[in-house]
Amino acid sequence: MVMSKEEALYRYVLRLGDNALVLAQRLIELVAHGPELEEEMANANFALDYLGQARMFYSYAGELEGKGRSEDEFAFMRGEREFANFLLIEQPNGHFGDTIARSVLFENFYLSQLEALTQCSDSRLAEIAARSVKEIRYHQRHDSQWLVRLGDGTAESHELAQQSVNNLWRYTGELFAGDEIDDILRDKYNGPDLDRIKSDWQLQTAKTLKEATIAVPEDQWMDNGGRDGRHTEHFGPLIAEMQYMQRSYPGLTW
């Protein structure tokens, strides 16, 4: 069955919401655990930026779906297999270098994706992208600077940062895998061209890694499945914690 244009847009927006929400949740886990007061503030700001973006995407997805689902229902009342975020994003925070490497690898992609979406023909999605792109441009700047400092820091920090990038590399192939939904967005809504985003990502990532004196990992087998709801073992505990309150006390508000 061929997917309708409207269905593809709804699911695309929902995926954007899932990426933003899951990364927000990961960063929220770090609140009050920052290595420095200043970095604590940056992390909490970033988490809230992502949470705000998730809310905009989910609200719009609810309108597109037209079944009256609210942003909270998307966030708190769906099961693990219904989330379509990238596997990269759900990986655990690990140490500070792991968190930073995960953000850099994702934001190099997400920034290009949002920049492309500001030009898409769906005006509401273009508006959300235009608002989000400013936030992510700063995140990418800040996180990349950290990766450079860790990679080009002490022998120990260099070793750890290289290991972080190596460990996460196999989750980066999924960013550009693309499927029917991406194709429809590109063809019917003037959406992102994943081939172009991939080459931009490779250039930007190589540049940052070079500055950080981190070697670009060799081509390897790439993990896949997040966008179809097949997640890594780290995802279940993440949403269990995130959804606990609504699951235990459905409809709870404060």
Binding site: P35, E36, L37, E38, M41, A42, N45, H142, Q145
Partner: protein, 95 residues
């Protein structure tokens, strides 16, 4: 919480175009560029600024509290340095 290895930076924020930068506080940071990021994240979260300066606290030359008397007291009785003896012409609102 404070890392002893990180130097202290003083942060100056310009709240809007046309006003001068004002001292907002200080941050610790590993280097100059990061100090700018940290200042942005700590002091402009609520739309406080359009421009930031950061400078190493150690680069600031400050007056010595011991010399307060010699430095500042001579200016206290020089009332003729204030333009309070001039009559302001009608029609001049701000001077």
């Amino acid at each position: 919480m404070t890392n002893q290895d990180w130097p202290l930076y003083e942060v100056f924020i310009r709240s809007k175009a046309g006003l001068s930068h004002r001292h907002a506080g200080s941050v610790h940071a590993p280097d100059d560029e990061m100090a700018l990021d940290h200042a942005r994240d700590v002091y402009t979260r609520r739309n406080e600024g359009v421009s930031i300066w950061v400078v190493r606290s150690s680069a600031i030359v400050a007056s010595d509290p011991e010399e307060t008397a010699a430095f500042f007291e001579p200016a206290k009785d020089k009332i003729y340095r204030h333009p309070t003896f001039y009559e302001i012409p009608d029609g001049v609102e701000n001077i």
